[in-house]
């Protein structure tokens, strides 16, 4: 891990993070079709992948120079790293999927934020799911302190819900889909509450040093979008194979995702909303103007 690899102006390899879950169709399609590999082959740049799922680890690896492009990183992770003075730049969007982030319970009677008071709610801290909970509670002027929020990963939260030690679980991706299939009670999803943005990010330094690569990257992403539009069924099948899920499940879940890469005003707003939430929750120590990220 040499932190200075990116300084040399001529790159001979480019490492992307490769994250497939919850349902990252572009990543799956890209790898399967070898789109990046083809795009950078002319320049003699080898494309490599790093499977780092944790957002914190992704930004660490970016800062350490082991990875050049975070291809699919949560907005919260980007904000956290920027707030801690790391060099990071959002290149474009990857997906938005507020509906994929849900809050489930066994108890059918929970239907409003007020019903959550004092309940044990499990989910990963500092993520879209955490923000979802805060935003939902905020609609009734409540805060996370009014409930018993416990920090744990998605699989653990689901196990807790099932075992009965947790009243409400914050779930996303396959776990959310399964829970729904099992007939659990959906309290709310992220629609209208959070933007649930996943983005593509690099460092500013890299952005400035390699404009030609950035350009190639953009066109390659356009190619991916094309493929997903024109070969929808094929893309679903790829994802089903990669994630070892049913094609039907993939199709069902894919409805919740918007994979357009363009940065819209609403996205910027969403970023700011997330940053503000994190500031208020004490997760970052200073206010962050998200415009510095773009």
């Amino acid at each position: 891990g040499c932190g200075t690899a990116e300084d040399t102006s001529s790159l001979d390899s480019l490492t992307f993070t490769y994250v497939t879950s919850p349902l990252n169709l572009p990543s799956i399609v890209e790898k399967e079709e070898g789109i990046f590999t083809k795009a950078f082959a002319d320049d003699g740049i080898e494309v490599k992948y790093a499977e780092i799922t944790s957002g914190a680890d992704q930004t660490q690896a970016l800062a350490a120079g082991d990875v050049q492009v975070l291809y699919a990183v949560g907005a919260t992770s980007v904000i956290l790293s920027a707030a801690n003075d790391a060099d990071i730049k959002v290149l474009n969007m990857y997906s938005r999927s507020p509906k994929a982030f849900c809050m489930y319970s066994k108890d059918e009677s929970i239907s409003s934020p007020a019903d959550l008071r004092g309940k044990t709610i499990a989910g990963p801290v500092g993520t879209n799911l955490h923000e979802l909970l805060a935003a939902y509670l905020a609609t009734a002027d409540m805060t996370v302190d009014d409930v018993n929020f416990v920090n744990m990963g998605i699989p653990e939260a689901k196990a807790g819900l099932e075992g009965g030690s947790v009243d409400v679980a914050l779930l996303a991706g396959a776990a959310a889909y399964q829970t729904q299939q099992q007939g659990y009670h959906l309290i709310t999803d992220g629609e209208g509450l959070i933007n649930a943005i996943i983005a593509v990010a690099v460092t500013n330094k890299f952005y400035e040093a390699h404009p030609e690569i950035i350009e190639k990257l953009q066109s390659a992403q356009a190619e991916i979008a094309d493929f997903m539009q024109n070969h929808e069924q094929e893309a679903y099948e790829m994802a089903a194979a990669e994630l070892d899920l049913d094609v039907d499940a993939v199709k069902e879940m894919a409805q919740y995702y918007d994979f357009s890469t363009e940065i819209t005003a609403a996205d910027k707003e969403g970023f700011q909303r997330t940053a503000d939430f994190m500031y208020q929750a004490g997760m970052i120590e200073k206010e962050l103007d998200v415009n510095t990220l773009f």
């Binding site: 932190g3 200075t4 914190a56 930004t59 660490q60 800062a63 350490a64 992770s77 956290l80 790293s81 707030a83 801690n84 003075d85 790391a86 060099d87 044990t120 499990a122 990963p124 801290v125 500092g126 416990v150 920090n151 744990m152 990963g153 699989p155 653990e156 689901k158 196990a159 807790g160 099932e162 075992g163 009965g164 030690s165 947790v166 997760m283 970052i284």
Partner: protein
């Protein structure tokens, strides 16, 4: 002169580490995001110390570890004893013990949550899983490695199985048991993150994990230092206590 030097030696390694860290930060090879300066870490440390959060977290974790460790030790000791007194019973449970010895506790967390909920039980079980095996193996080694000739003395004086265990095997194996306990204690501390991964809102493991999730490397480093030092201190106290307890053994040239 020599004595000062000798008292100083243990710190030399640590000082060197600090110096390298300081120089690295000075040279600005890494962004402070990845490797915060010693000053920043120290500041965070002071802040956390004075707010009381650090002490509370350490205490909570300490109690958890003690609980898990004691259970693990009792289990390991009883199983080891059982195996020694009743060698025939061993083969019934040995396969299971050996099986679980190799299973990563992290993979068991969802199953543990299912069985034991998200309360203290799961946390304790994870610590037990982490510290049980080195203790068990060392205890078994201590018992099975006992000098047969000394055991025969017990036979000759009409000792029962249990008496032989109590008066010959146990003192003989004490060195092995102590090493097992020290390793086990170390592993209890090492498991604190995995244990507090689940629904903890306090504890030093939770502190580190939370800081990690929030990309606060300075807090992570404070946490690492505190765990390392507290662990070191527990180990020393522990060694001291055991030396007192097993006084006869420690000072007769036998251990």
């Amino acid at each position: 002169m020599k004595k000062i030097h000798s008292a100083f030696a243990p710190f030399l390694g640590i000082l060197l580490l600090l110096a390298v860290w300081f120089l690295l930060c000075r040279a600005e090879i890494f962004s402070p995001y990845l490797l915060p300066t010693p000053q920043k870490v120290f500041d965070s440390f002071l802040r956390m110390l004075f707010s009381g959060e650090l002490l509370r977290d350490v205490l909570i974790s300490f109690i958890r570890i003690l609980k898990g460790f004691c259970i693990a030790f009792l289990l390991a000791f009883l199983l080891g004893m059982f195996r020694t007194l009743l060698p025939a019973a061993e083969k019934y449970y040995d396969a299971i013990v050996q099986f679980f010895r190799n299973v990563p506790p992290l993979s068991l967390i969802p199953l543990l949550i299912l069985w034991c909920g998200i309360g203290e039980t799961t946390k304790t079980v994870i610590i037990v899983l982490a510290s049980f095996f080195p203790m068990y193996l060392n205890i078994v080694k201590g018992f099975t490695g006992c000098d047969q000739r000394l055991l025969e003395v017990g036979d000759a004086f009409g000792y029962t199985k249990f008496e032989k265990f109590r008066y010959i095997l146990l003192p003989y194996a004490s060195a092995d048991i102590l090493v097992g306990m020290r390793i086990g204690m170390g592993y209890s501390w090492r498991a604190i993150i995995a244990a507090e991964m689940i629904a903890a809102s306090s504890g030093i493991g939770h502190l580190i994990l939370f800081a990690q999730q929030l990309s606060r490397t300075d807090k992570v480093i404070v946490g690492i230092f505190v765990v390392g030092l507290v662990g070191l201190a527990t180990d020393k106290c522990f060694g001291f206590l055991l030396k007192k307890l097993f006084k006869g053994n420690g000072e007769n040239g036998w251990n």
